[in-house]
Amino acid sequence: MNDDEKEKSALDFDFPGKGLSRRDFLKFCGVVAATLGLDASFIPRIAEAVTGPRPPIVWLHFAECTGCTEGFLRTTDPFVDDIILGTASLEYHETLMAPAGQAATDNLKNAVSKYAGQFICVCEGAIPTAENGIYGMVGGKTMLQIAKDVCPKALAVICLGTCASFGGLPAAAGSLTCAQGVHAALGGYPTINIPGCPPNPINLVSTIVNYLLQGTFPDLDAQGRPLFAYGNTHHNSCYRRNSPQCLRGLGCRGPETYLNCSSLKFNYATSFPVAVDAPCYGCSTPGFWDKGSFFNYNGSYGWV
C-alpha cells in the first residue's frame, strides 16, 4: 500500500461516535500534531496510528478526587466516546466500567495477564504508604500492593495529574498518610508524569499518540514530564505576558510553571484561569500546594 492509499484507508475509517466528521477527525489529528510539535505532514500518519489496533489501557484509581478522570471525559480531540469505542481499549477503569466487585477485579487480572508488557497503565491519585498502605484499599488489597503488582507489568506507566506524579494534595504538608507519587512509592520506578490539577487531557492523548506513531514515548524532563507539554513556561505563551493585565503582581506563578495551559486552554480551547483573572497557582510543579498563598491578597487588579 502506498502512502496515498494508507492515508485514504485511515480517513475512510468509520470513526465511531455521532457527528465526528472527517473534518473533525482531521482537526483532532491536527491538534495532536501541533501539541507534539510536529508539522502538518504528520497528520495522515497520526490518523493511521489512532485507527489501528486499539492499545489496551489499565487505569488505576488511588488516593484521588477523580478530577483527572473527569478531565479525560472532557476530551474533545478526540471525543471520549471515540476514544472508548475507537482509539483505545479501556480494559479497567473503575469510574466507567460496567462490571463491579469480583467481575471488575477479574477484568483487571485478565488484562494484566493477557496484555503483559503491552498495556499502558494510567495512574490517577497518590499512593498512601504509611502503615503498609492501609489508608487506601481496593478489593481488599492496598493501593500500594496493587501498584506493585500491576505497574511493572505495563508497557509504560503514565501518571495523570499531580497526585499520581508527585503526591499532590494527599501528600501536602499536614498529611497523615505518607501519600506519594507512583514513582516515589515504587522506589523510583520510571513513570511518565503528566501533572496538573487536573491536567489538560490533550497532553495524555498526545503522549499516547506519540507512542502509536513512533513506537516510543515522548522525551521527558528531569521531573518525568513530556517536554512537548512541559518544556516551556505558562508565562511564555500567555497572552497577557507584556500586558498591563499580567497577573504577576497578584501572585501568578506562570513565570516559573512549566505547562501549556496558556497555549492549549481548556474545554474546546475556551479559556484558562488567567483569562478569568485568576493567577496561575503552579499546579504542575512538585510540592505546589506548600509554596505559600495562591493569591497576593495585598495586591490589586491594577487596571480595574
Binding site: 455521532k18 469505542l85 466500567m97 460496567a98 502503615e131 474545554n267 487596571w303
Partner: protein, 546 residues
Amino acid sequence: MASNIVIDPVTRIEGHLRMETEVTNGTVSNAWSTGTLFRGLETILKNRDPRDAWMLTQRICGVCTYVHGVTSVRCVEDAVGITVPDNARNIRNLLMGAQYVQDHIIHFYHLHLLDWVDITSALQADPTIAVTVDQGISSARTRDAAYFTAVKQKLSDFAGSGQLGPFANGYWGHSGYTLSPEMNLVLTANYLEALRLQTRIIKMHAILGGKNPHPQSLLVGGVSLNWNYSYASLIDFQNLCTEAQDFVNTFYLPDVTAIAKAYKDYAAVGGCDNFLCFGEFPQSAIEPDSLLFPRGAIFNRATAAVQPVDVANITEHVARSWYSGSAALNPAQGDTVPVYTGIDLDDKYSWLKAPRYQGQPMEVGPLARVMVAYGKGMAEMVQAVDSFLGDTGLSLSQMYSTIGRTAARAIETKVIADAMPGWTSQLLQQVQAGNNNNRTIFTMPAAGTGFALNEAPRGALGHWVNYSDTKIANYQIVVPSTWNFGPRDAANVAGPVEQALVGTPVANQQQPLEVLRVIHSFDPCIACAVHLVNPKNGDVVKITVR
C-alpha cells in the same frame, strides 16, 4: 438461608467503596457500607490562610468539582463577616447550576444507566422500531432509522473487535434487564450522545471559571472576574444554557421517565424515611429565605410536615468507624483519632463516620431537595414532580424509592436548567449597565469562626472554620455521601444506604445487579465522604494501627 455478597470495588461511582450485603431467601436482609480510602484533608488545611482553603477543599472531589470551593469561600466570608455583591452571587449560582446539570447528566447516563440497560441486547434491535420507541419517549426527537442503524453498526463493530473494554464482563443477559432491544438501543445511543453533550455544556465553567474540572475564579469576597472584556462570552454562556435546557427536556427527563415506567418495581425498593436539605441557590444575601431550593427536614416520609433545620442538632458518630472513641459530637467539637482495625462488621468497618440529625440517619441529595421543596410548595418543583407522577402513574409516596431518587435528580435538573437562562439575563443586564462590582473589598480580621451550609449535587454539605493569626486552627467538613453511606452509629442503627438496601430482591448472587441499582441511585462520592475531625486543641493527630 443467608449468605453474604461482597461488592468491592463498587464501580461507576466516585471514590472507593465496598458494600457487603447479607441475602436471605433471595432478599437483602442486612448491609454494611465501607469507605476504603482515607486522605485526611482537614489536617492538611491546618495552618494555611483561610482565604486559600477553597483551593484545597475544591480538590476534595473532582466529580462534584466547584461545590467544596464555593462552600469554603462562603464559610470564610461568614467568619470574616462580609456578603458578596449580586454579580458574584449570580456568577456563583451559574457555576453551581452548570455543575448540577453536568454532574446529574453524567451520573444518569454514564454511572447509572447500565444498571437498567443491557447494551448487548441493543445489537438485536430493529432500527425502524427504534424510531417509534424513541419518539414514544419524547415526540420532540427527530432521529431516523439511518441514525439508529449507524449506532447499531458502531456497537456491532465494537463488539466484533473482541476488545470490549469497559463493557466487558457486565451482568449482560441478567433476568433483571427487561427493556426491549429497541429501548436498549435508543438508550445506548443516548449514553453516547450524553458523553458528547457534557463536553459542550461544561464550557460554561470555562467561560466563568477558566476551566473544568476545578474552575478557578473564586475568591473570598466574590469572584476574580472583571467584566471589561467578556460580554460576548456571556452570550455564548446563554446559548449553552439553552442547549443544556433542550437536552434535559428532550432527553434526560424523558429517558428517566421511560426507565421509571419500565422498572416500576423499583418504586417499592430502596427507600429511606428521613431527609435533610440545607438548601441552595441564594437569590439575595438573605439566607435561607432567598434560597431557590428551600432548607428543611422530613421525618418518616411526612412530606407535608417539613421541619426547620438547626445545625446544633447534628452529631457525628465514630463507634463503628476506624477512629478512637465512641462519643457522638457536633462537627464544631469533633476530637477524633484514626485507628485502623480492619473490617469487622460487628465492630468498626469504615473510614466514614456516621452523621445523625436529631439522632436519626438522614438521606441527603436530590430526593431530599425535591421532597422538601414539594412539601414547602415551591411551584416549579411541584409542577415538575406532578408532571413526572402523571406520566408514570406513580404516587407521591412512591417517590421514596430507588426510582424516586433517580427521578428526583432529573426533576431538579429541569428546574435548575429552566432557571439558568434568567440568571444569565440578569448578569448580562448588569454587564450592559456597566456594573462590574464582582468583589467585596475587605480587611482580613486576624481571627474568626464561621460556617456555611450548601447543597452539593449529592446533598447537604457543611463547612466549619476556626482561624487565628490568619491561619486555620480547625476546618471541618460534613459531606453528603457521609450522611448517605456512613456506617452504623453507637446505637447500632444502620446508615441510610444500609437501610435502603434491606428488602432488595437478588435473583443471582453472582450478579447482584439489583444491589447496584440501589447503591447507584444515591450517586456515591466517597472521596468526599471520608473525613477526619481535628483535635480541638490543635495537637498533631497520632495514628495507631492495631
